[in-house]
């Protein structure tokens, strides 16, 4: 924040000069200043946003209209061919892309509910007063600070069905010890979702915890005076109080899950076959390994569109409920 303050102030000062000049010109100083000031305050971020988000995004559309291999001199314009190929069942791209979209959908549908509910339970527990509370908070958050490479490579070996510790101890407990966690479906989905939940639940839990601490104590006291049970306090005070936080957590989690890549890339390598190859994985393979940037860009835009529609649907669903 401090970083943006300085230039904004400087800009504000220049703005003052502009107003003075404008005043001499006879226009309405108040109106004019209103027109420029917000833009100047936004400028530092806006410049970065335009340069690193909007410009590449527009450039990506341009790329998606070409047969774009950046190592070749010719990049022929192909119009919408890259897009139509994604909707043509006879093309190579069609099967690869929609298979990967299906994998992304499976992962998102399996992981999001768990990443909404489990962190909430953890946050509720961490919100209680007990000895060693801070240590537990740290322990639950700890996996989140690890990089995906560390997490995925570690779990790949732990979950290996022939030499891994997970199956070894399952066997010791008399449970089936031959589950192929990384090479068969649906076991691979459980592994990927489980590892992701273990890895990222700390982040969602921290946000829930902040939300919980924001709910006024008076509400709980009032509820208690009215004779509400613990469950009723949770239903009628905690949950409504957490609504805005939950919406935020839900949106962020959906997008994060839809962008899953590293876990599949490192733990299963998309195995068996390409069953666990997600959309981002497929896009990376197409664009960066096969240098088919045009096709990869088209895939990205279709994925973006699907995500935007999903977000709108989620927003719509949540607004519905708030009208009750």
């Amino acid at each position: 924040m401090a970083v943006t303050t300085t230039p904004a102030t400087a800009a504000g000062r220049r703005e003052g000069d502009a107003i003075a000049a404008g005043g001499r010109g006879g226009g309405s100083p108040a109106l004019r200043s209103h027109g420029i000031t917000p833009w100047l305050f936004l400028a530092p971020y806006l410049v970065l946003f335009l340069a690193f988000v909007i410009a590449p995004a527009v450039y990506g559309i341009w790329i998606s209209l070409h047969d774009w291999d950046y190592t070749l001199p010719g990049k022929p314009f192909v119009g919408l061919d890259n897009y139509t190929a994604l909707f043509d069942p006879d093309s190579l791209a069609y099967e690869r892309f929609w298979r990967s979209m299906r994998a992304t959908a499976i992962f998102t549908i399996l992981s999001v509910p768990l990443l909404i509910v489990i962190p909430l339970l953890v946050a509720l527990a961490m919100n209680q007063k007990f000895r060693g509370r801070n240590a537990f908070r740290a322990i639950y958050f700890a996996p989140y600070v690890l990089g995906v490479a560390v997490v995925a490579v570690m779990w790949r070996f732990l979950l290996d069905n022939n030499i891994g510790m997970v199956n070894y101890y399952l066997g010791k407990l008399g449970l089936p010890d031959d589950i192929a966690w990384t090479t068969s479906v649906p076991a691979a989905w459980f592994a990927l979702v489980g590892v992701t939940v273990w890895w990222t639940l700390g982040f969602n839990a921290v946000i829930y915890l902040a939300g919980l601490q924001d709910i006024p104590k008076e509400l709980y006291e009032a509820a208690e005076v009215d004779g509400a049970s613990a469950w009723q306090r949770f239903r009628n005070v905690t949950l409504p109080g957490l609504r805005p936080v939950t919406i935020f957590v839900l949106m962020v989690t959906i997008i994060a899950s839809a962008n899953m890549f590293g876990q599949a890339y490192l733990m299963t390598r998309g195995a068996p076959g390409t069953e666990t190859r997600t959309a981002i994985y497929q896009i990376a393979e197409t664009g960066l390994r096969q240098f088919q940037m045009g096709s990869a860009a088209a895939m990205s835009y279709v994925l973006t569109l699907v995500l935007m529609i999903t977000s709108l649907v989620v927003f719509w669903l949540l607004r519905e409920r708030s009208a009750d």
Binding site: F52, P56, A57, Y59, G60, I63, D67, W68, D69, Y70, T71, L72, P73, L92, R96, G147, V148, A149, A152, V153, R156, F157, D160, N161, N162, I163, D178, A180, T182, T183, S184, N259, F261, G262, Y265, L266, R269, A271, P272, G273, T274, I280, Y281, I283, A284, E285, G287, L288, R289, Q290, F291, M293, A296, A297, S300
Partner: protein, 447 residues
């Protein structure tokens, strides 16, 4: 573990780029607008090659992927070259092979890549057609390199459209490794040499307490085992001209069926995930007594004090054959634009090629026959492999073939060895897709 081939993954880089998706990456790479023909125009530049560098002091950017047990040997060679050639400064950049083939095209296109480097033989055609690397015929003739000094297969695989793009430094193939301790308790004295003796050896190992003596991987290097067996059966994976995938032939189905049988017979557990068989081989006591892997693992096994023996793959099919690849020196189109750099690069390759006997210490087999027959090689661990160089088979020089194979053949082998799909169905499906992709490539790159 270091694999001198491109299936190894690049974690960090992919993570970094994955988020930003395609657009951002293209931004950095497409600059310049320089035509590829301009870039390649330097082929004729550089003065008459004498093997000596006489120009002003120059810095060469030298890229390779020797990140494993081979790295220290290359560092040592570079250091010695520096002392002998003070006018040429070598700036070495070592990157994992998997990243290497993504980075080099982008970096050379941007003018910030290697001047000289090492890449795998099966990548030469792809980079030649992209004008990332330039022909080195004159270096080959100045070095006095002749086909008779190489295995004919290795020699031919470096030529694309009648021009030579790589100077072979070494060849490396798959080999059969076994655990000495397990072999001893099973009374195995000589390594098996054909399908029958291999099967007997596995049964003897099972009797001695090795329940699953030959773990069949579902990933790397399973597709290399497949290719070796396919060649042993007399098949070819691809049409020489790059027009068609033929790995779904009778010979191919037979090869993959043999692999799957090892699992069904109980010699291998099911679902052997990536690298598991190698970890199991290094374990004490071994989980798998025999594994087929590349000869580049020699130093890794020695470093881990694993008691192992090494021999060529047994002849499972009708003839001896084994998948192999080769490290080749290349000169980039970037260096070819600067006469001094081009000259220096040629001197560097010349010098390095003559030192390839020392390179045998890195676990590889020198490409040149004259050096292969020297004592450095005949007394090395990989000597039995070096002797069988004439059985080594290389993929044809077809641009873009590596990516096609990764998306089709490797996935078919994966599905079959995980017992998800029958070898025939998996191969038929993959070969159909591979042929489509190869036809697209022919159109894209011209033939």
């Amino acid at each position: 573990m270091t694999r001198p081939d491109s299936t190894n993954f690049s974690r960090r880089r992919f993570l970094a780029v994955g988020g930003g998706v395609a657009a951002g990456a293209a931004l950095t790479a497409c600059g310049g607008g320089k035509s590829a023909d301009e870039a390649a125009g330097g082929t004729d530049s550089g003065s008459e090659f004498t093997g000596k560098y006489t120009g002003p002091a120059v810095t060469l950017s030298y890229w390779n992927g020797f990140t494993g047990g081979d790295g220290p040997f290359m560092d040592e060679l570079v250091k010695r070259f520096q002392t002998e050639n003070p006018k040429i400064t070598i700036k070495q950049n070592t990157i994992q092979w998997a990243d290497f083939y993504q980075k080099v095209p982008a970096a050379v296109t941007a003018g910030k890549g290697p001047d000289v480097g090492v890449m795998h033989q099966d990548q030469l055609a792809t980079n030649a057609v992209r004008k990332i690397i330039v022909p080195v015929d004159d270096v080959a003739s100045a070095l006095g390199l002749k086909e008779s000094d190489f295995s004919p297969q290795n020699w031919k695989a470096g030529i694309y459209q009648d021009k030579r793009y790589g100077i072979p430094l070494d060849v490396h193939s798959l080999a059969m490794y076994w655990r000495e301790d397990a072999a001893e308790s099973a009374g195995m004295t000589d390594p098996p040499t054909d399908a029958d003796s291999f099967d007997q050896a596995l049964q003897a190992l099972q009797k001695s307490g090795q329940d699953e003596p030959f773990w069949m991987p579902s990933r790397w290097p399973s597709h290399l085992i497949f290719l070796s067996l396919l060649w042993q059966n007399g098949g070819e994976p691809y049409a020489e001209d790059g027009s068609k995938a033929t790995f779904d032939s009778e010979e191919g189905i037979e090869a993959l069926t043999w692999q799957v049988e090892q699992i069904k017979k109980g010699y291998s557990p099911e679902n052997v995930a990536i690298d598991t068989q190698y970890v199991g081989f290094k374990n004490n006591p071994p989980k798998t007594a025999i594994t087929w892997d590349g000869i580049w693992q020699i130093n890794d096994l020695k470093g881990a004090d694993v008691p192992f023996g090494i021999a060529p793959l047994p002849k499972i099919g009708d003839q001896e054959a084994v998948w192999a690849n080769s490290h080749n020196f290349f000169i980039s189109s970037q260096a070819s634009k600067d006469d001094n750099k081009f000259d220096a690069a040629r001197v560097f390759i010349d010098w390095m090629s003559k030192q390839s006997a020392e390179w045998a210490g890195a676990g590889m087999v020198p490409a040149r026959k004259s050096i292969r027959e020297g004592s450095e090689v005949t007394s090395s661990t990989q000597a039995p492999i070096a002797e069988s160089i004439d059985t080594m088979r290389f993929l044809p020089p077809v641009p873009g073939l590596g990516d096609v194979q990764a998306q089709t053949l490797e996935i078919a082998v994966n599905e079959a060895t995980l017992l998800k799909t029958s070898p025939e169905d998996a191969l038929k499906d993959a070969a159909g897709k591979a042929t489509t992709a190869m036809e697209e490539n022919l159109k894209k790159y011209g033939s």
